[in-house]
Point group: C2
Chain length 263, copies 2
């Protein structure tokens, strides 16, 4: 499981303050700590911490790149902010997070991903909103894959996000997401596209967020999930996801597997 | 998930001693504590604690029945020991644990289950041993279901155990077990038979037994597992399995779901 570490986000107070004061210290520390804990990508999200989001994205990317060699995920709904991040990327693997499943948006983001040799997170939502069922999610996933082929983006570099809804909203959704992942991994194309979830949405408004997050993650991994945006500083969720990788035969068991998988 | 509580087993020192001294105290305490922690069945296994296993089974069943109203699972590979337990059962739900998938054995155990209105755990193994693949496990499951129909045992009272092998033996096995459960739950018959696993085998010889056990359990639940023989006194595994039930839409979410699911 590719752990995309969520903490470098202007929605968190410490990062917001660091952005506003141009203080690299807390960002460097988060980059290093998350890397040590097994992050495969460091998500970078300016949030609402700065009026000039493009400048803030450039600064964050440069600070993180100066601190470690970990790949980065540029996280914004605004194309200029993504582009600002891409401009200063130093050639390490990069993920663009994210674009909706609307054809006209994909026609902009897919060439951008190809040009920068980046991976691209594409959400199974469109102008009509987030589908509540399996079929419409898979339908949008098909549009995404077709667009990737049209623009020459390797399907494995497309990370389709089926969009988890809070379990408090509809308890049928988690199993739907399992089934969508299964279908994306087995019937859409060969090689299959990658799959990703923004995990924490599942536990919005619940009393047991970390427990629900890690339990849901293990279930999704059992259906073939490739990546998730999670709090890698939560030891319990990292232990769970690494153990699921062993049980899915994705990493080899050894008595020290929890440690070696984080390196 | 039907939690079958594993602790009243003569393989554990405290229970062995209680059996040998005919001291009901520790057995009563385990019956009550396991029930409080959410056990749906109390497994009763004499182990090697007594020369007269039938007398020991009778004694254990009577002690447990005097302590609480929780259903019981009579656990032995020996038919006379199972029969001894059945003789003293007071009419509460009872599970016979277990019989192999050999036709001649099923022809003995199925009528016994019908006669006592009991559920029956049937293993997907036969004289040739434990199958290592999906197909042979499902084939034996089909034999089990056919025998249940022949003898008039409600398929939902048949708990098919696909037999988990240690992850250290073959890392492909957990996903095979997921697939076997899926097939048993969807293609064998309608209503589908129930499924059960003796969970702890998955982590034999590993350095992280509780973590591997609970992670495996959640994966199997995502594929429709109905029951597992587990340590219900392990708070973490109970929290995980109850949370998986919420995410599978098997129990309704409330902020106090961890507590209410145990009652």
């Amino acid at each position: 499981m590719i752990a995309v570490a969520e903490r470098i986000n202007g929605m968190f107070k410490d990062v917001r303050k660091a952005i506003q004061k141009k203080d690299p210290g807390p960002v460097i520390e988060l980059a290093l700590r998350q890397t040590e804990q097994g992050a495969r990508y460091l998500d970078i999200n300016v949030g609402t911490a700065a009026a000039d989001q493009q400048a803030a994205m450039r600064w964050l990317v440069e600070v993180v790149q100066g601190a470690c060699k970990t790949p980065i995920a540029l996280d914004s709904q605004k194309l200029p902010v993504i582009q600002a991040g891409l401009e200063v990327c130093d050639g390490r693997p990069v993920m663009i997070n994210s674009v909706s499943g609307d054809a006209e948006k994909l026609d902009v983001y897919m060439p951008l991903a190809v040009q920068h040799n980046a991976s691209l997170v594409a959400l199974t939502l469109n102008v009509d909103g987030v589908p509540q069922n399996i079929e419409q999610r898979v339908e949008i996933a098909m549009t995404i894959v077709a667009k990737a082929m049209e623009h020459g983006l390797d399907p494995t570099k497309v990370f389709i996000d089926p969009i988890i809804l809070p379990v408090t909203v509809d308890q049928k959704q988690p199993l739907y997401i399992c089934e969508v992942i299964k279908q994306i991994k087995t019937v859409l194309c060969d090689p299959a596209p990658s799959t990703i979830v923004g995990l924490s949405n599942i536990s919005q408004g619940t009393s047991q967020r970390p427990l629900i997050n890690r339990t849901c993650l293990v279930m999704l991994q059992a259906y073939g999930l490739d990546a998730a945006i999670i709090d890698v500083l939560d030891t319990d969720i990292m232990d769970a996801t690494i153990t699921a990788d062993v049980l899915m035969n994705r990493i080899i068991y050894s008595d020290s597997y929890l440690k070696s998988a984080r390196m």
